[in-house]
Symmetry: C2
Subunit: 148 residues, 2 copies
């Protein structure tokens, strides 16, 4: 049996010490850091984009699984937050991990079903949402340097 595989690509060009121009198919976007973190604040920062990825993935996964279960979702909103200690990134300390220690997502759902059914839906979403999986479980990241 053939296992389907999808590959996604992006490219990026550094515009400054904090700013990157990313190209995703026909879309372009800026990653930057807020002024408090030494940036020029022209776009969300890298760890904020993780939260955007997660919210986007929860949206499509919740809607897809709700549709399978015959649940009608009338409105769906998200509030996400992540906490990190910047000291490893800054080279000050190695006491704590570099990235988010924890990410919290609150999902506000208006639907035609019960809280219990929504909790069942959520369990399946947590298994099947690609971004949740990439965060909760180890994902190999292979970085290769090519000097020009």
């Amino acid at each position: 049996m053939r296992v389907e595989e999808w590959t996604f690509y992006i490219t990026g060009k550094s515009l400054s010490d904090t700013k990157l121009l990313a190209k995703v198919r026909n879309f372009e976007m800026i990653v930057d850091e807020p002024a408090e973190i030494g940036g020029t604040d022209e776009g969300p920062n890298p760890v904020e984009y993780i939260l955007v990825a997660l919210a986007g993935c929860l949206n499509v996964t919740i809607k897809g699984i709700a549709s399978e279960k015959g649940i009608n979702i009338r409105s769906l909103e998200f509030a996400l937050e992540g906490r990190l200690n910047p000291e490893k990134f800054q080279g000050i300390s190695k006491k704590e991990r570099a990235g988010y220690k924890e990410i919290k997502a609150t999902v506000y759902i208006e639907s035609d079903t019960t809280k219990e059914k929504l909790e069942e839906l959520l369990k399946e979403v947590e298994e099947r949402c690609p971004v949740t999986d990439n965060l909760k479980n180890p994902t190999p990241v292979k970085i290769e340097i090519k000097p020009k």
Copy 2:
């Protein structure tokens, strides 16, 4: 000793089964899916945003550590890709994980130093880059449903 902690926030509103409007401080952006995946193709998709987050984080971390080491980087570009099997997300099969099985990042660097020094730099980047850390290592993701 006080350990500093930074918290990042975003909110999102579902606009369709695939489309999300995300708000990050003063920035707004659309997450969507390409038409081939059933979307309306108005923005990058969730797993593409992961790659944007990673490229942005590699940019700021490489530049920061290069500066600490006195390495001058003249140009810095990125090409990232991630492979996944969509069958778990689609509910077809549980054979493979939902998210990226692997992410590859190629980093094109023009600098005033040797390949060896750049490889040393990369090792430190892999430890200190927050997004690399959140992908390579397990990150708790707590999702709470609030029915409206």
